[in-house]
């Protein structure tokens, strides 16, 4: 069996708090050895000289819109896998809002089969929490979980009814399953396309108060307390919600949260030219809220950063702002945008990488996310300093709707490896 030896790398493993110059040996798709004193490469191994570049566990992205099945004109499993690999992602988890929705075990199996055929990055899915996201009927969580669903969520639809959310949490807890909420009070956000405030007012856009987020988080925390369930709040974007999550954690509740790069790298001024690529769900927030998300990442209140990758084709975005679909692609820009926090001195590299690798892997019980002997060789090699400009035309994704188009960033993926297979090689280009 082929062996591969990564030499002269800055080996970074957030799980073991490791940051040393050394090497890593891959054998049979697994990590055979790693550390500072590996000596000369074995004679039969293919040597990959990292020349001081960073080597870390491959990224684990827990919030991705799959588009396949149902919206293959926006993205396919093939395109998604290629795009994620280019972003250094080795494992991703797809939301259930496909067509048909993933509210039936057969759709879980369909995506798993497509991922096997593509043989790129590892692709898992969530199951819907309610059938057809109707907010009224529980899904067969037991059967979905057996088929491979990693957690339960209604994707970008909030589970609004309090009694239903209570039952979702209760029922899921019986299967020790995590419930992921898109936290917003839908009766406040119904026709909103932006965050309420001066900017939305001047633009004449229908807007919802930022408090719609914390209202749902607060309610959910009460229900978590009642049911003892495991709860995760997705793409947290406001200071108020961060406070409530911190408080719930300090009370020992099983609560966690993620955010997406847009919510710590951008603010509501992005929509000033009615730029539909910056129309997101939840909408971009005020500068104060953006700042609070950075602080929450530093404090550890937010456990995970996920891309919130949501491909939209031209027809869905070249529209008046209110009519355009929300969402932006994000798997390819995830790491470079996150690294801004390191370059600005806001957060330590290992701490940041933890939110992109071991934390999400642990949360959902996913493979990879750490460098350990015998573990899967899911690895990314990146040049932390190399600058480039985000060019949405050059994205691997079928859809080009990046909210970061034209942004100068630092940090380029060089090699992505999944189970010992190189799925992206940026050294040639």
């Amino acid at each position: 069996m082929k062996r591969m030896f990564f030499q002269n790398a800055r080996v970074l493993d957030p799980a073991s708090n490791l940051d040393v110059v050394g090497g890593l040996l891959v054998e049979n798709g697994k990590i055979a050895d790693l550390g500072p004193n590996l000596g000369d490469p074995p004679p039969d191994a293919e040597v990959l000289d990292c020349k001081g570049l960073c080597l870390s566990p491959g990224l684990v992205d827990i919030r991705v819109h799959l588009c396949e099945p149902g919206e293959e004109h926006k993205e396919t499993i093939d395109g998604l896998s290629a795009s994620a690999a280019k972003g250094g992602i080795t494992t991703l988890v797809g939301l259930p809002n496909t067509e048909p929705p993933i509210d039936d075990a057969a759709v879980v199996e369909f995506v798993a089969r497509r991922a096997r055929e593509v043989r790129g990055v590892k692709i898992f899915v969530y199951g819907a929490a309610t059938k057809g996201f109707d907010g009224k009927r529980l899904t067969e969580m037991g059967l979905l979980k057996e088929a491979g669903a990693r957690a339960f969520t209604d994707g970008n639809i909030a589970i609004a009814d309090a009694m239903m959310m209570r039952r979702v949490l209760s029922y899921a807890s019986g299967f020790d399953a995590l419930v992921i909420q898109h936290p917003e009070e839908p009766t406040l956000t119904a026709s909103a396309v932006a965050t309420e405030g001066e900017f939305a007012t001047r633009l004449g856009l229908s807007a919802a108060p930022a408090a719609a987020e914390v209202m749902m988080v607060e309610r959910d925390i009460r229900l978590v307390e009642m049911t003892g369930a495991r709860y995760h709040a997705a793409h947290i974007s406001t200071a108020a919600a961060v406070d409530k999550i911190a408080e719930a954690k300090s009370r020992g509740l099983n609560v966690s949260a993620d955010t997406a790069p847009a919510y710590f790298a951008l603010n509501e001024t992005e929509i000033l030219q009615y730029r539909t690529f910056s129309k997101l769900s939840p909408p971009l927030r005020s500068e104060d809220d953006r700042r609070s998300i950075v602080e929450a990442l530093k404090a550890g209140t937010i456990d995970v950063i996920a891309s919130d990758h949501w491909p939209q084709d031209q027809e869905s975005k070249r529209l008046p702002f209110a009519q355009a679909n929300p969402g932006a692609v994000g798997v390819e820009t995830l790491l470079p945008v996150c690294l801004e926090l390191v370059h600005k001195g806001e957060i330590e590299l290992l701490d940041l990488l933890g939110k992109l690798t071991v934390n999400p892997a642990k949360l959902l019980g996913l493979p990879g996310g750490s460098l350990k002997k015998g573990g899967p060789a899911d690895i990314v090699v990146f040049d932390i300093d190399r600058p480039f400009k985000v060019d949405s035309d050059k994205l691997n994704s079928k859809s080009k709707n990046s909210a970061f188009d034209g942004r100068p960033v630092q940090g380029m993926i060089m090699v992505t490896m999944v189970d010992g297979r190189i799925v992206y090689d940026g050294r040639i280009t």
């Binding site: 529980l138 899904t139 067969e140 039952r167 019986g174 299967f175």
Partner: protein, 321 residues
Amino acid sequence: MIMPSAESLSSRHLIGIEGLSPAEIGLLLDLSDRYVDFNRSANKKGDALRGRTIINVFFENSTRTRTSFELAGKRLGADVINISPEVSSVRKGETLLDTALTLDAMHADLLVVRHPESGAVGLISQKVRCSVVNGGDGAHEHPTQALLDALAIRRRKGKLSGLIVAICGDILHSRVARSNMILLRTMGAEVRLVAPRTLLPAEVERYGVTVHSNLSEGLKDADIVMMLRLQQERMRGSFVPSTTEYFRFFGLDSQKLAMAKPDALIMHPGPMNRGVEIDSDVADDINRSLIQEQVEMGVAVRMACLDLLTRDLTGNEGPAE
């Protein structure tokens, strides 16, 4: 355990298992045992209740329980009549208590009442001079069911104390589960509940039971497996996603039953939903299933209850108020 013996019940009503002492339960079960033998003999007509009038008042549909009470009363020589809301003045707007007082005024000696609302039978018992037996009230209690279950178990296992009893299924909506939990705990059995979390009432552990979400785990080393019906008619909204999923995780089949003791017995208060909470192979296994025996015990237990409750009854023998 040596139990203090009781010779009579402390109340003229039987509203719930709650409040009955171990000695009273023992007395009822001992007398029931004698009525089992009586019912198996050729002459099934006694006279302990000769001259007494029993009215079965069922505000909720029932075949099994009503027939069982009717037979029990008739075998003891009482006059038994049945009324149900469809044919009664309840349809004409009469309140529950007025209906009860009307029957009381006709010098009924005992009312057997079933009602969809918890507490309704207790309410009647506070207002009438006759005896009242609860034939099931809402999700509160169904005392004669718990007694007949206990009798069936005791006759097969020789005891109740120390047995492991798993009660599985829709606990939330079940009065049978509540009465059984109280009786079995009172008599010293270990009780485990197995159900989806959506079908467990809050703080149910306070009954002194343990709670499990995994059927195989809850059945481990159980002596008795008591399956409950999924009461879909009482469910408002979604408690379980589908009967397919329910059967897969909470339905009893021979594979899951293998976790219980090799001589574990299966019970079900009926009516059964085959393929939902119980597999036919298991329900019909004559070596393991007590389900038919439960029905037989039901008549005997109800005879014992009617007998004991009317023995010293003098309250309703004067002029109507």
